[in-house]
């Protein structure tokens, strides 16, 4: 039962409300749905942050893309810098929920909901993105890789608000992709997901990043998969080794969508496809966004 509500007109007003125990709501696509499903009742005190235009911006420099906490999945998926330089994030943002979820759901809310199956987490971790957590006492930067501590929990203090995400742009010659195993194209949650990015210079992999999604209590980077790719030609042997490393790093659960054994088996398949897609994009070959649809449509292996 919610007994207090304020719609903040400024970030400072929102931070004051958080300091007094209120919880933030933006698009409501997780918070309100969770309450309707009986997962968790709505908080006693709510502060709506949807009117805070200063959290809505997206600005790109030569080095990075900064996204405000209220940027929606639809805005991310359509952003030209995301599509060209951070394509894995376009793959991810364009398959979140349904169209209504993507125009109402926000990046900040998605990250702070801390689902191990969230689509955008893997790409952000692979790119080395940071979030800004702000409170009345000041602000700090936390790597997306360090933000979640388990399903639904983060390192953020209750008085802190996620205000911005900064994503470093990978070098030219980088290809990246996010792929999920899905039972249907839309209104789906990743059964298993994986992200890969590779930079190819002089025919060799000069940099690589791999993350696994819905395969552990948090989304996780897989350094062993990155090492398997580094210095290789990005060919089938290296891709296969990286995929096996990604599967070995998984600690899946059984739930209504898949058994742990099935997830473990599919981890290697999905990782192989996503690394192959990243290598293909790095070589300038076309893999349509979202990569999940492009790779699973014809039943390719």
């Amino acid at each position: 039962m919610t007994s207090a509500f304020v719609s903040a007109a400024s970030v400072d007003e929102a931070l004051s409300a958080l300091a007094e125990g209120a919880r933030p709501v933006a698009g409501g696509t997780d918070l309100v749905v969770g309450a309707r499903q009986g997962k968790a009742p709505l908080p006693e005190s709510l502060v709506a942050i949807h009117r805070l235009d200063e959290l809505r911006g997206a600005s790109a420099s030569d080095r990075s893309l900064r996204l405000g906490a209220l940027v929606t999945h639809a805005e991310i998926a359509a952003h030209p810098v995301v599509r060209e330089r951070l394509t894995a994030l376009a793959d991810a943002s364009s398959i979140v929920g349904s169209h209504a979820t993507r125009v109402q759901g926000t990046l900040g809310g998605n990250l702070m909901n801390a689902s191990p199956a969230m689509e955008v987490g893997g790409p952000l971790m692979v790119f080395g993105a940071d979030v800004t957590l702000r409170s009345g006492a000041g602000e700090r930067q936390v790597a997306v890789a360090d933000l979640a501590t388990g399903p639904g929990t983060t390192v953020a203090e209750p008085a802190e608000l996620l205000t911005e995400v900064e994503i470093p742009l990978p070098p030219e010659g980088t290809g990246c992709a996010y792929v999920r195993l899905e039972y249907r194209r839309q209104m789906e949650i990743a059964v298993v997901g994986a992200t890969a990015a590779v930079t190819i210079a002089g025919g060799r992999v000069a940099w690589a990043g791999v993350a696994i999604t819905a395969l552990a209590p948090t989304i996780r980077l897989v350094p062993e998969a990155e090492e398997a790719l580094l210095g290789s030609d990005g060919g089938a042997d290296a891709v296969g080794e990286a995929a096996r490393a990604a599967a070995a790093a998984s600690e899946p659960i059984s739930d209504v969508r898949a058994s742990a054994d099935y997830r473990r088996a599919m981890a290697e398949v999905v990782a192989r496809r996503v690394v192959s897609a990243a290598v293909a994009r790095a070589r300038g070959e076309a893999v349509a966004v979202p990569a999940s649809s492009a790779l699973f449509a014809g039943g390719t292996s």
Partner: protein, 154 residues
């Protein structure tokens, strides 16, 4: 705790007092009295409750009414022009896009938003835009044909 709000529904301002947890769907159905939007799953899965909020689709069953304060809400009742059905509404009827009718208000609202943003969508774009609207009767074909026909006429 009652929060005073004004919901601008189909270009009419309705002053209401809402509990913070009251959904936009409940506020419009019970407070405003427009019952076109339906409660299906109450869970953001089925889209029967779809409304436009400042022109963008929202699952109104899972959106707080207090957050719609001062904003523009469009429901299926706002699509017709006077006594004339909108082209989409007429095309739904002509193509058999309506059977039991429960999903129809949400389908029309989502399709209206699509055509406002993309007047000439591909069939794939229509299916993606309507993927959050479930229909248990029609098999979707009549609905998709209706949207594509209106798009071709534009």
């Amino acid at each position: 705790m009652k929060v005073p709000v004004t919901l601008n529904v189909n270009e009419v301002a309705y002053p209401l007092e809402l509990e913070p947890e009251t959904t936009l769907l409940f506020a419009v159905r019970e407070g405003v009295g427009l019952t076109g939007a339906k409660e299906g799953c109450d869970d953001s899965e089925c889209g029967a409750c779809m409304m436009l909020l400042d022109g963008q689709p929202v699952n109104s069953c899972s959106y707080l009414g207090v957050q719609a304060d001062g904003r523009e809400v469009t429901t299926v009742e706002g699509l017709a022009e006077g006594d004339e059905l909108s082209p989409l509404q007429r095309a739904f009827l002509e193509h058999g896009g309506v059977q039991c009718g429960f999903c129809t208000p949400g389908m029309l609202v989502s399709a209206t938003a699509l055509l406002a943003a993309e007047p000439r969508p591909s069939e794939g774009e229509v299916r993606i835009a309507l993927s959050g609207n479930l229909c248990r009767c029609t098999g979707y074909d009549g609905i998709v044909k209706a949207v594509l026909e209106v798009a071709e006429r534009s």
